[in-house]
């Protein structure tokens, strides 16, 4: 059906507040990825899910970042006690095959601004 969707599209929050970013992958895609892209920069890998489990959490910048995926579908990325350096576009992608083997379909991203 539809592509990868993310919500909200934009989020402005005050420093120190918690935020939740949501990703709805393409139906049937077992693999889900979160990336962060700062202005004019590349794609920074955060975490990868295969089904509901996360075999690779190595990219999470600090313990303020966490993510979960339920029902092998929707995923939520939570950032606690946000800092200004967390400001970026957070991109979610899904693929039919896991472990980076397949074509990744990206969502439109959530632009997070921490004031």
């Amino acid at each position: 059906g539809a592509g990868v969707s993310q919500s909200p599209s934009n989020k402005v929050t005050e420093k120190g507040k918690d935020v939740e970013l949501r990703c709805d992958p393409i139906s049937g895609h077992t693999a889900l990825y979160w990336y962060r892209q700062s202005l004019g920069q590349g794609l920074e890998f955060l975490i990868y899910f295969q089904g509901n489990s996360a075999p690779d959490k190595s990219g999470l910048p600090s313990d303020r970042f966490s993510a979960e995926r339920t029902g092998g579908s929707v995923s939520t990325l939570t950032i606690q006690r946000t800092q200004q350096e967390d400001s970026a576009v957070y991109l979610c992608a899904s693929s039919l095959l896991g472990q980076g083997l397949g074509e990744q379909y990206f969502g439109p991203g959530t632009r997070l601004t921490v004031t």
Partner: protein, 112 residues
């Protein structure tokens, strides 16, 4: 480890050719190429698997030399629509998992 892309930016005229290079210091299983237009999400172009194969997508093709851990993206007779940032993603092993790591991107601008 992040692959290195070169050049960082390139400007060319419509109809000209360009080459974007991607190299890694680690052994690779595959290389992926994506294009991101300004304000949009990255879009998949192609995957190259081990074997030194070349793949094509319209007038965009790529090669992968796994011995040298390098890949090159070739844009032939460039069109205005080719403008954007091109990212290579290299698939390697991190711990027990295979992971795709993206380069910092090459900004391509095609002028009329």
């Amino acid at each position: 480890q992040q692959p290195v892309q070169s050049p960082q930016a390139v400007i060319l005229r419509e109809g000209e050719d360009a080459v974007i290079n991607c190299s890694s210091s680690k052994a690779l299983y595959s290389v992926h190429w994506y294009r991101q237009k300004h304000g949009e999400a990255p879009v998949f172009l192609m995957i190259l698997l081990k074997g030194g194969e070349q793949k094509g997508h319209d007038k965009i093709s790529a090669s992968f030399n796994e011995k040298k851990q390098q890949s090159s993206l070739y844009l032939t007779a460039s069109q205005l629509s080719y403008s954007g940032t091109y990212f290579c993603g290299t698939e390697g092993v991190r711990g027990s998992a295979r992971q795709l790591t993206f380069g910092s991107g090459t900004q391509l601008t095609v002028l009329p």
